[in-house]
């Protein structure tokens, strides 16, 4: 390990990485000194790879920066980036930073997906970020016409070749424009929820990003003899991919191997083969990826694969299912996956990325808690055998008195977590839940709203002072997640915020709701989408509640359910697990008539969403509804109040 010298901006970090890594080998030249080989490797679909050392990455970025400066991109301005995983993403990313501007990574079009929805969302994000220019891959750019027309970035949408050309002869000589960048300047805008309805651009400073990368890097020395070697297929417009993988590799500097998300999704074995081939020690992914690998990787695809190098398999970005952890650990033990590798973590884009980590050197921990106490009283009462290594035990849990929850560990160095009473309700817009600056944290074992504090919190939502003020209070961030602390570790039980978290990505419910609400026979504007992790399930369950325009017989409700699922899938690409068709007026609302999503789910889980008789369009119904603990708790209270058991 080299000693860490203070590096206060990403640009300084790039400069340092470039001087502390071996230069790319030129023909015949011996490797210079004993500098480490550090940089980014890009794996193609045929598993061939190319490698860019940090000095090369910096040189290329400076050429782009010169072009951007000539175009008139000024420090502080935002630049949208739409690139697949590849060297060009980094040319654009570091090039934008090198001119003092702020990169805003956006996702490329979904393959074979509906472009209408894509244009609408992307235009919304470009506008919300106030991007002055959009840089795009040449192939993607030809498709972005409509997005650009809608969003009208003043400098349009350009390819890197176009930008470098605009730099003029003699400008692409590797000389970076002289700009002064300070640690508290913005360094990145990322989206917490990718929709037009509510695009929330999360603004992060150089200081915050470096603090996050440093916190992550501080974890390895006790575990790894050498600097970590990473593999990631995560999208670069996702915090776990960019902030979690690239920035720590930049800061050390170390070596990171990247493959495109589409390669992983189509052929999950490539992820494991790549880890094995490059002897990666660290590779993160969301829960769904571990599940996909368990189900889709075939033994014969792993000939010669050795996963014993994989010391840290981070699992975050969405709810972590104990069944998936156990299944993955057991399935790949044959290929040498260490038992301690799987590491559940927790974070959110508003905190740059990670907030808590479970211990790296021991198997993941689960706790077993009394189901009734958790659901009814919000109290985590451990049931015998607590705190042991998880058995997973998928299936057969529905009737057990205990519910198994995964620990997401302790706060990273420099971070604090506090659980406060979840009073007040954003759905009502009237009252705010108390922050740790205003109220006292709940004792261990009490479920409440999770607040975090630390050096990598966002500066705010760009251009949204009111939302920022509601979320960042007294130096604390309201995560909108529900959970409790036990033995100093955090356990999550549900969400208070209206967001769907599927396959590691956040979605706003409004897109699905709008699509369903437009189906003939549905009551316009009366649909609610929610997702949660049911007990024993491998991932979050997405359920759509739709009111019919008029009381409908079962056959009509079945038709409506199928149509709504189709419409929702067409609009968002998301597969709805269940559509529940309700009689007009069944969905709970606020006094001002707004639909209450959380309340809808709570009542659904408690069986008090009347009239009952949900039409189950797709499959799986009752058995899974015993979960969503925090939601159920709320519903039980509601029911008790209704029956006079509780004031």
């Amino acid at each position: 390990m080299t000693a860490t010298t203070p590096t206060d901006t990403l640009l300084a970090a790039l400069d340092r990485a470039a001087t502390q890594s071996a230069a790319p080998l030129s023909a015949g030249a011996p490797p210079a000194g004993d500098l480490p080989r550090a940089g980014l490797r890009f794996v193609e679909r045929d598993e061939s790879a190319s490698f860019l050392a940090w000095p090369e990455i910096r040189r290329r970025a400076h050429a782009v920066a010169a072009g951007l400066a000539a175009l008139g991109v000024a420090p502080g301005q935002r630049v949208g980036l739409v690139f697949p995983t590849g060297p060009e993403f980094f040319d654009a990313f570091f090039g934008t930073l090198a001119v003092g501007a702020v990169p805003v990574p956006l996702y490329p079009p979904v393959r074979l997906g509906r472009l209408g929805e894509y244009h609408r969302r992307t235009a919304g994000m470009i506008a919300a970020a106030g991007a002055r220019l959009v840089l795009a891959d040449a192939r993607v750019r030809r498709l972005l016409g409509e997005t650009v027309v809608r969003a009208r970035p003043p400098l349009g949408c350009r390819t890197l070749a176009g930008v470098v050309e605009d730099g003029g002869p003699g400008r692409g000589d590797g000389a970076a424009p002289a700009v002064e960048v300070r640690p508290d300047d913005l360094a990145l805008v990322q989206f917490s929820s990718g929709t037009t309805v509510d695009p929330k651009p999360v603004a992060l400073t150089h200081r915050a990003l470096l603090a996050q990368a440093e916190a992550l890097n501080s974890l390895w020395p006790g575990l790894l003899a050498d600097r970590p070697t990473g593999v990631s297929w995560l999208p670069l417009y996702h915090d776990m991919g960019l902030i979690g993988c690239v920035l720590p590799a930049l800061l050390l500097p170390s070596e990171l191997t990247l493959l495109g998300p589409e390669l992983f999704v189509a052929r999950p074995a490539l992820w494991l083969r790549t880890i094995s081939r490059y002897r990666a020690t660290v590779s993160p992914a969301p829960n769904f990826a571990y599940s996909l690998a368990v189900h889709r990787v075939r033994d014969e695809e792993l000939d010669g694969v050795d996963l014993s190098c994989w010391r840290v398999a981070l699992n975050g970005a969405e709810a972590v299912a104990p069944a998936v952890l156990a299944a993955f650990r057991d399935r790949f033990a044959r290929w040498g996956l260490p038992r301690e590798a799987l590491t559940p973590v927790y974070g959110l884009s508003e905190a740059a990325l990670a907030v808590t980590f479970s211990a790296l050197d021991r198997p993941f921990t689960t706790g077993r808690f009394d189901r009734e106490a958790l659901a009814a009283d919000g109290e985590a009462r451990p049931v015998a055998d607590d705190g042991r290594d998880a058995g997973g035990e998928p299936g057969g849990v529905a009737e057990a008195p205990a519910v198994e929850l995964v620990s997401v560990g302790r706060p990273l160095p420099g971070f604090d977590v506090a659980v406060l009473p979840d009073t007040g309700d954003r759905e009502d817009d009237a009252s705010l839940p108390p922050s740790p600056a205003e109220g006292s944290p709940l004792p261990e074992g009490q479920v409440g709203r999770v607040w975090v504090r630390g050096p990598s919190l966002m500066a705010g939502y760009l251009g949204l002072p009111e939302q920022t003020a509601r979320t960042l209070r007294g130096g604390w961030l309201d995560t909108g997640d529900l959970g409790f602390c036990w033995r100093g570790e955090l356990y999550l039980t549900g969400r208070a915020k209206d967001v769907l978290i599927l396959r590691g990505r956040n979605h706003a419910p409004q897109d699905l709701e709008r699509a369903a609400g437009e189906v003939a026979g549905a009551r316009r504007g009366c649909a609610v989408a929610v997702s949660w992790l049911p007990e024993g399930a491998e991932g979050e369950r997405l359920v759509l509640f739709v009111e019919s325009a008029a009381p409908a017989p079962p056959s009509e409700r079945r038709r409506l359910a199928a149509e709504c699922a189709r419409a929702a899938r067409g609009a968002t690409g998301l597969a709805v697990d269940e559509v529940v068709v309700l009689a007009p007026g069944t969905l709970p609302r606020t006094s001002s008539g707004k639909l209450r999503r959380r309340e809808t789910l709570a009542r659904h889980l408690a069986g008090t969403l009347l009239p009952p008789e949900p039409v189950n369009a797709l499959r799986l119904a009752g058995a899974l509804t015993r979960s969503g603990l925090a939601f159920a708790r709320h519903a039980v209270r509601t029911r008790r109040r209704a029956t006079g058991e509780e004031p």
Partner: protein, 109 residues
């Protein structure tokens, strides 16, 4: 290429897409050109992506974003593949030796 040859090729492509759907999406039903990917086959975004990547692997073509923008049905997908194949023919791209992803490459370069 005459009409007959085109028809034969179209059938082969359709059979290839069907094989991809069977192998990678677990779809056993026969695919006909008029079936819509989202509405009829009910593919979600991950399945669409898998279909696109594996069809490319199988036929060794690269679909461009603007090809994909116009694809709504199985027939559209087959036509896009046919167009790319026709483009690649003059370059003499053979199709032996198995899918490219099976090719092993050396370790760290």
């Amino acid at each position: 290429m005459d009409h007959l040859a085109q028809a034969v090729e179209r059938d082969e492509i359709l059979a290839g897409i069907e094989a991809v759907a069977r192998e990678h999406l677990g779809r056993v039903e026969p695919l006909t050109p008029e079936l819509r990917l989202v509405e009829d086959l009910e593919l979600d975004s991950i399945q669409l992506l898998t279909l696109a990547v594996e069809v490319e692997n199988r036929f060794r073509v690269c679909l461009e974003p603007e090809d994909e923008a116009g694809i709504a049905t199985v027939g559209d997908l087959a036509a896009a593949v046919a167009a790319r194949l026709a483009e690649d023919q003059p370059a003499g791209a053979g199709s032996t030796g198995g899918p490219p992803w099976r090719r092993e490459t050396a370790g760290p370069s």
